[in-house]
C-alpha cells in the first residue's frame, strides 16, 4: 500500500484508470437503466413505479459506500499516516452525499404512490437522513480544518470513524425494528426479487459504482493538483523574497 504513498505513482495509475471507470460506468449504468426502464416488466403490486428501484438501490449503496470509504481512509490516515488517505476521504464526501440525497429523493417519490406518503420517520428513513447530515457535517469540518492548518488536524478522520457506526444501523434498521420500509430483498446468495428486476438492478449498481470510483479518482487528482499549485506559488513567493 505504501507503494502508492508517492503521489506521482498514484497519478500515473489514476490517469488511465479514471477515464476507464468513468466511461465503463457511464455505458453500463445507462444500458442498465435503459434495460430496466424500457424493457423490464412492471411489478405485480407496484406497477410501473417499481422502475425507480434501478436508481434508488444503487444510490443507497453508494451513499453508504461513500462513508465506508471515508472511514477506511480515516483509519489508514490515523494508523499509517498515509499521505493520500486524507485526500481520498475528501474525494469520497461529495459524491457520497449526492448519492445519499438521490436515494432519499427517489425513495420519497416512490413512497407517495406505493405507501401513500412522501415521508415517515421510521428507522430506515431516519438513519439515511442522518447519514446525509453526517456528510454535511464532515464536509464542513474538513473544510474548516483545511483552512485552519492545511489539513493537519485529526478531527475529520475521527469524525469519519465515529460516523461509521451509522452504516450498520442503516442496514439493520429494517431487521431490528418494525419499519415502514421493507426488509432487504437481496442478501448474499439469495434474492426475493425475480430475475427480471434483479439483473438490470445488479448491472445498474455495478455501473454507478464504477462511475463513483471514477469521480473519486478525478477528485483526488484535482485535490493533488491544487496542492501542488499552492506549494509552487508559496515557493515562488519565498524565492522572490516576500
Amino acid at each position: 500500500m505504501h507503494g502508492f504513498a508517492n503521489p506521482a505513482r498514484f497519478l500515473r495509475i489514476a490517469r488511465w484508470l479514471m477515464p476507464l471507470c468513468m466511461g465503463g460506468g457511464a455505458v453500463l449504468a445507462l444500458a442498465a437503466l435503459g434495460w430496466g426502464l424500457f424493457f423490464g416488466p412492471a411489478e405485480r403490486l407496484q406497477g410501473e413505479t417499481v422502475r425507480i428501484v434501478y436508481l434508488h438501490v444503487p444510490a443507497a449503496w453508494l451513499g453508504m459506500a461513500g462513508w465506508m470509504g471515508i472511514a477506511a481512509a480515516s483509519f489508514t490516515e490515523l494508523v499509517w499516516r498515509h499521505p493520500l488517505a486524507g485526500i481520498a476521504a475528501r474525494a469520497c464526501a461529495v459524491p457520497g452525499a449526492v448519492f445519499t440525497a438521490v436515494c432519499l429523493i427517489t425513495g420519497s417519490l416512490w413512497g407517495r404512490p406505493a405507501w401513500g406518503t412522501w415521508w415517515v420517520w421510521d428507522g430506515r428513513l431516519t438513519s439515511m437522513l442522518v447519514l446525509l447530515f453526517l456528510y454535511f457535517g464532515w464536509m464542513a469540518l474538513s473544510q474548516a480544518s483545511e483552512a485552519a492548518d492545511g489539513g493537519q488536524s485529526k478531527a475529520p478522520a475521527i469524525f469519519g470513524l465515529v460516523g461509521a457506526v451509522n452504516i450498520p444501523i442503516i442496514h439493520y434498521s429494517v431487521i431490528w425494528w418494525q419499519s415502514q420500509h421493507q426488509a432487504p430483498s437481496i442478501s448474499l446468495g439469495k434474492s426475493a426479487m425475480a430475475g427480471a428486476f434483479l439483473y438490470p438492478l445488479l448491472a445498474a449498481t455495478l455501473g454507478f459504482s464504477l462511475l463513483f470510483a471514477g469521480v473519486v479518482l478525478a477528485r483526488m487528482r484535482a485535490i493533488l493538483a491544487h496542492q501542488q499549485a499552492e506549494a509552487r506559488l508559496r515557493r515562488k513567493a519565498l524565492s522572490e523574497g516576500f
Binding site: 416488466p41 412492471a42 411489478e43 405485480r44 403490486l45 407496484q46 406497477g47 417499481v50 428501484v53 483509519f75 490515523l78 494508523v79 499509517w80 404512490p113 406505493a114 405507501w115 401513500g116 406518503t117 415517515v120 420517520w121 421510521d122 428507522g123 470513524l161 465515529v162 457506526v165 450498520p168 444501523i169 439493520y172 434498521s173 431490528w176 425494528w177 418494525q178 419499519s179 415502514q180 421493507q182 426488509a183 432487504p184 430483498s185 439469495k190 434474492s191 426475493a192 426479487m193 425475480a194 430475475g195 427480471a196 428486476f197 434483479l198
Partner: protein, 154 residues
C-alpha cells in the same frame, strides 16, 4: 533506531484505534438494543392485544391484512378488515381513500387509536410493500411456470 520507533508507534496507534473502535461499536450496539422497542415504527397485533393502549393515545398498528376480511360498509366509504401477525388479530375500521398498494394478504400500517369495542379506528392507512418483487406477467403464467421463475430467483 528511528525505523524501530516508527514501527512501534505505528503498532501502538493501530492497537489504540482498534480498541477505540471496539468500544464505539459496543456502545452503538447497546444503544440500539436499548432502543429496540422505542425505535419501532408501529406495534404488531400481538403487542396491541397483550398491552392494549388507552383509547386517547394515538398509535400505529402494522401487520398483514387478512385474506377475505376486507369489507366495505353500506355507506360506501367505510371499510373494515382484520390485521394479523400470525399470533394475534385486530379488527380495524377506516373511512377514506386507501393507497393503491393496500390489498388483502399484503402489509399495512394503520395510524389511529383503539376504540371502546376493541376495534382499531384508523385515521390514516399506509400500505407496506414487502421484499418480494414479482413481475406482473407472472400472474398470467401457469402455476408451474410461476414456480419455475420463483425457484430461479431463490
Amino acid at each position: 533506531m528511528t525505523v524501530g520507533t516508527a514501527i512501534k508507534a505505528k503498532h501502538q496507534r493501530l492497537v489504540l484505534l482498534v480498541i477505540a473502535l471496539v468500544v464505539l461499536v459496543a456502545a452503538a450496539l447497546l444503544a440500539a438494543w436499548a432502543l429496540r422497542n422505542q425505535a419501532s415504527y408501529f406495534y404488531v397485533p400481538s403487542d396491541i392485544v397483550a398491552n392494549p393502549p388507552e383509547e386517547t393515545r394515538g398509535v400505529r398498528l402494522g401487520g398483514m391484512v387478512e385474506r377475505g376480511s376486507l369489507r366495505t360498509e353500506a355507506d360506501g366509504v367505510t371499510i373494515t378488515f382484520v390485521v394479523g401477525d400470525g399470533k394475534a388479530r385486530v379488527p380495524v375500521t377506516f373511512k377514506g381513500i386507501v393507497p393503491s398498494l393496500f390489498v388483502e394478504g399484503s402489509g399495512v400500517v394503520a395510524e389511529g387509536h383503539m376504540g371502546v369495542d376493541g376495534t382499531f379506528v384508523a385515521d390514516n392507512l399506509l400500505a407496506k410493500h414487502d421484499e418480494n418483487y414479482v413481475p406482473r406477467q407472472m400472474q398470467d403464467m401457469s402455476k408451474d411456470q410461476a414456480q419455475q421463475v420463483m425457484r430461479e430467483t431463490k
